[in-house]
Each structure stands twice: as C-alpha cells, then as structure tokens.
C-alpha cells in the first residue's frame, strides 16, 4: 500500500476585487509516495508546496482531484490519527507550557490518559526540552519552538509525518538535529514527506524527490538516479601545486587550493590522468566520480520551464 497517492489534486484561486480572475496555485498533480521512504518535495518559494500540503491536511479544499492517504480517502477523519504535521514557522498557544501543549494535543489526538503522560515525557526527552517543560511557550526561541513542533507531530505515534520547511530559520546545529531526527523516523519505519527549498538537505536525506515549480510537477525520481545522469566527470585531487602539462591538454579544469590541486576532467580521461600523475611522481589523493548535483538538476528543470514559457509567449 502506498503511503500517499495524490490523484490529480488541483487548486485555482479567484483573485481580484471586482472582476475575479483565476490564478492557478497548483496544476493537477499526480504523485505517489511509498511507505517507509523519506520523500522530498522541492521547489522555490511560491511553487505550490505548501498548498499541496494544506490540501492533504484538509485545511484547503482542492478545486479538483482526490488523494488517498494510507489507503483511505484523504478527507476521512480517521486518517488524521495516523498522520503528524509540522507547519512552516510554527506558532503555538503561547500561554501554555510545553508540557501542557503536548498534553492538549495528545488529548485531541485521542491518546488515552496514562499513555499520554508517558508519551509526553518521552517526546520532551527526545527533542531535548525536558528542562523547560514548565516554561510558557511565549518565552521559547525559534529553535525550541521547532523542536516542540516536531514533538507534537510524532506524539501520537503516526505512521506518516508531514514537515513543511522543517529546517527554515535554524542554525547549523539545529539543522543537524532535525536531519538526525528525520533519519531516526525512517529507521522506526515511518514515512516522512517534507517540503523544502534547501537542496543540500534533500540530497542528504531523501530517497526520492519531486520538483515542483509554478504549480507544476517538473520531475520525480530517486536522488541517485536524478543526479547520475549525464556528463560523467571525475574529480582528481593531488598533492602539491604542480599541474602537469598533459593535464592541460586533456582539458582539465584545475584549481589550486593551499597545498592541493583539484582538477575536473571527463570520465574517459581518467586513466590518462592517473598515468600522467604517476609519471610526474605526483601523489594522488583522491579520485571521485562527479555526479550532477541536485542543484544543477534542479536549476536545469527550472530553466527548461522558463524557456518553454518563453516559447509560449
């Protein structure tokens, strides 16, 4: 059973004061997310990521299309017991303490009494907020709020978790923590669907990604597949500051940094390069096949749409 099946979800808003014109926030989207995977939903700001998430949460009503979550219709209230949601830049009832907030969420998620007490303590511990559990949320920093957000999202032991820009506004340490947590969730057998515009995070974490731009899906696939296409190049690193003449002949791009040289050349020239270095008795440090970074793939997909748009107009 797929975790999420998005079947043609579409959203068009009517904008304007007097004469309302349609504005498309999301073109009909078809996407499937499998159980147990970490799925990244990528796109620039305003691409339609949050709209999609809100529709799946039942906060916004689609103009057309349906979806199935964990085998049920997405409007089925019982589905909500199995999913967790962390919205972008979350804000919680600031007059409550972390403990009270989690307890409240537990109550309305239907977690029974004794269980709830235990779970709340567990969650607080897991996200590292046990010391401040009695402090009112209005005093929390951004990072602390994000941690509370994650705690409330997984409190009721959901099988599927939705995060909207979970790393936004966090310092490197915070981001590392969130990344580790997402990994842990996967280890626990949960499915994670998160949207972001930070590609390095997606690259590091996700099994599969989808790229969305201006409401349209541009590409879907496993990260490894997407980035292994095209232009096999290798990166060769060697010690010293010397660049053999033969390298230049091969058309390598070389950068000298400190006491090492970094050169990029086509894959098929790999052996020739190694021989050249050996002849000159230069110490080889590393050879790494270069994959197209997700960023490049991403930019390419976006540019492609720009040109298509350009052609149309």
């Amino acid at each position: 059973m797929s975790a999420i099946e998005i079947l043609g979800l579409e959203k068009t808003y009517m904008v304007g004061f007097w004469r309302k014109r349609p504005k498309s926030a999301l073109r009909p989207l078809h996407l499937t997310i499998e159980e147990g995977e970490i799925f990244g939903f990528l796109g620039p700001n305003g691409a339609g990521k949050t709209t999609t998430l809100k529709m799946l949460m039942g906060l916004v009503f689609p103009t057309a299309g349906t979806a199935r979550i964990l085998g049920r219709e997405w409007t089925d209230p019982e589905v909500k017991a199995q999913i967790g949601f962390l919205p972008e830049q979350p804000y919680f009832y600031d007059y409550l303490t972390a403990h009270e907030l989690l307890d409240y969420y537990g109550q309305i998620s239907g977690v029974p009494g004794k269980d709830r007490k235990r779970r709340v303590e567990e969650m607080l511990q897991r996200v590292g907020l046990t010391e401040v559990k009695g402090m009112q949320l209005r005093k929390f920093s951004k990072g602390m709020l994000q941690r509370v957000g994650i705690a409330q999202a997984i409190l009721h032991n959901p099988k599927l978790v939705f995060f909207d820009e979970p790393m936004s506004g966090l310092d490197p340490l915070g981001r590392r923590e969130v990344r580790d947590l997402i990994e842990q969730l996967k280890q626990e057998g949960r499915t994670v669907f998160f949207s972001t515009h930070i590609l390095s995070d997606a690259e590091a974490l996700c099994d599969r990604v989808a790229i969305i731009h201006k409401g349209e899906l541009r590409g879907v696939g496993a990260v490894a597949d997407l980035t292994s296409t095209v232009q096999g190049k290798v990166e060769v690193i060697w010690q010293g500051r010397q660049i053999p003449a033969s390298m230049k002949v091969l058309g390598a791009e070389c950068h000298v940094t400190g006491d090492t040289v970094r050169a990029i050349l086509p894959e098929n020239q790999q052996d020739t390069a190694i021989d050249a270095l050996r002849r000159e008795r230069i110490r080889l440090i590393a050879i790494t096949p270069l994959r197209t970074s997700l960023e490049a793939y991403f930019v390419e997909k976006l540019q492609h749409s720009q040109t298509t748009v350009g052609k149309r107009s």
Partner: protein, 258 residues
C-alpha cells in the same frame, strides 16, 4: 459525542483565564459595584434601587464587552497565528472546534458572572443590611444576563469564523445595541407597508431579542416575573444560540485556511 470538544472547551477557558485583560475588566466591574454603594448613599431612600440597577448593569455590560473582546479572536486569531493548523491536522472535526470554542467562552463568562454577582450581592447586603424574599429575583435577572451572554458569545464566534477581529467587534456590538431595541423594531416593522414590511419584519425577527432578557429595571423595583417568561426566554436563548452556531459551523466547514 467525543471528549475532544470538551478538551477544546477547557483549553479555551484556560486561555481566557490566563489573559490579563480579563482581570482588568473584572476589577473594573467590581469597582463599579462598590461605587454603587456611594451613589446610593447620596440618593436617599433609593440605595437599594441604585445598587441593584447599577450593579446588574455593570455585570451585563462588562460581560458583553468581555464576550465580544475574547469572542472575536477565537477563530480569527487562531487562523492568523496559524495555531489552527496543528489542531485541524488531528482527528478533530471542524464543527467540534467551533462548538468547543463556544463552550469554553460561555464557561468563562458564567464563572465571571458568578464572581461579579458576589460583588453585587455584597454591595446590596451593605446597603440594606439583610436580604428579603424579592431579592431572589436578582438571581433571575442574573440568569437572564447569562442567557444574553450565550447569545453574544455565539454571535462573536460566528463573525470570528469569517471576518477580521475589528469588523467582528463592530457587528457583534451593533447587534447587541439593536437587539436591546428589538421590541421597538418589531413595532416599526408593523407600521411599514409592502416590500419594506417584509424586509423590516425579517430583520426584526432575526435580531437577538435582548429586550425580553433585560429585566434589570423590573427586578430593581421588585416586580415579580412570570415563570412562563423564564421558560420561554430560556428556550429562545438556546434555540437562537443553536441557530447562530449552526451558521458558524456551515461557514467554517467551507473555509479555505490560507
């Protein structure tokens, strides 16, 4: 009926209690009850009249202010601050959310009225030195005031579910003022003709009938109240509240939360 609604109600109550503005308003109202004692002393032989009139009016007006003040933000604040998203992504039905919020606000006002009533009875005891049987009517007046609060709470919640806090406050307060003259409005409507008559009558019947619920003058003069009136008013308040909450639910169910 799941307990979710009650959890939401309790949380709403908790929010109101932790809101400092509430305490300021209550303190002010109690002050007014105390002031009634002094005003009563200047107007000889009508101390009781002044205390009851002023005291009950303070309870009523301040309650309305609190109801509107808190009520208008109940839904719109949650949408603006986006606290609503994490609530609705849980197995909470939208209608449970609305009804739960209403129960929380109504509960806040009832508790509030209880404390203010103690102030009124305290002031009354001070000026008349002992209670007499007709003073029980004050309890009826307070009961009617609570019925008024139920109606106002539901109206504030209705407007909050689709309108900004400022507009909600204006609408709710306007309806309170108009509702206080509901009897006259029905009278006006009867004097018009044709299409105006239909519109005026419809408006006159839809406006909340606060004039029947305002028995402060009668109680101050120790006039008895018919038990049938008490029953009818109770039913009216309950049905009116149900009507407004149904409308709020219908609106909120359809709202896109951007």
């Amino acid at each position: 009926m799941s307990p979710r609604m009650l959890y939401i109600a309790f949380n709403t109550f908790r929010e109101a209690v932790r809101d400092r503005v509430l305490y300021n308003l209550i303190a002010f109202a109690l002050l007014l009850s105390g002031a009634a004692i002094f005003v009563g002393q200047i107007s000889i032989h009508i101390e009781r009249l002044v205390v009851v009139n002023l005291g009950l009016t303070a309870v009523s007006l301040f309650g309305i202010v609190i109801a509107i003040f808190i009520g208008i933000g109940l839904v719109s604040k949650e949408i603006e601050k986006r606290t609503l998203y994490t609530v609705l992504s849980r197995p909470v039905r939208r209608w449970e959310f609305i009804v739960g919020k209403f129960l929380g606000l109504a509960g806040t006002l009832i508790v509030n009225t209880f404390f203010m009533a103690i102030g009124v009875f305290g002031a009354l005891l001070y000026v008349v030195h002992k209670f007499s049987a007709p003073d029980a009517l004050i309890l009826v007046a307070l009961y009617f005031i609570i019925l008024e609060f139920l109606i106002i709470c539901s109206l504030a919640l209705l407007f909050s579910s689709f309108s900004s806090p400022l507009l909600s406050a204006v609408f709710a307060f306007s309806l309170f003022v108009i509702g206080s003259f509901a009897d006259d409005l029905r009278g006006f409507a009867a004097l018009t003709h044709g299409a105006t008559r239909w519109l005026a009558t419809a408006a006159a019947y839809l406006v909340p009938n606060f004039s029947a619920l305002n028995v402060i003058s009668a109680v101050a003069h120790q006039q008895p109240l018919r038990s049938q009136l008490i029953l009818q008013n109770t039913l009216y308040a309950l049905f009116y509240t149900a009507m407004v909450l149904s409308a709020a639910v219908l609106i909120f169910e359809r709202r896109n939360l951007k």
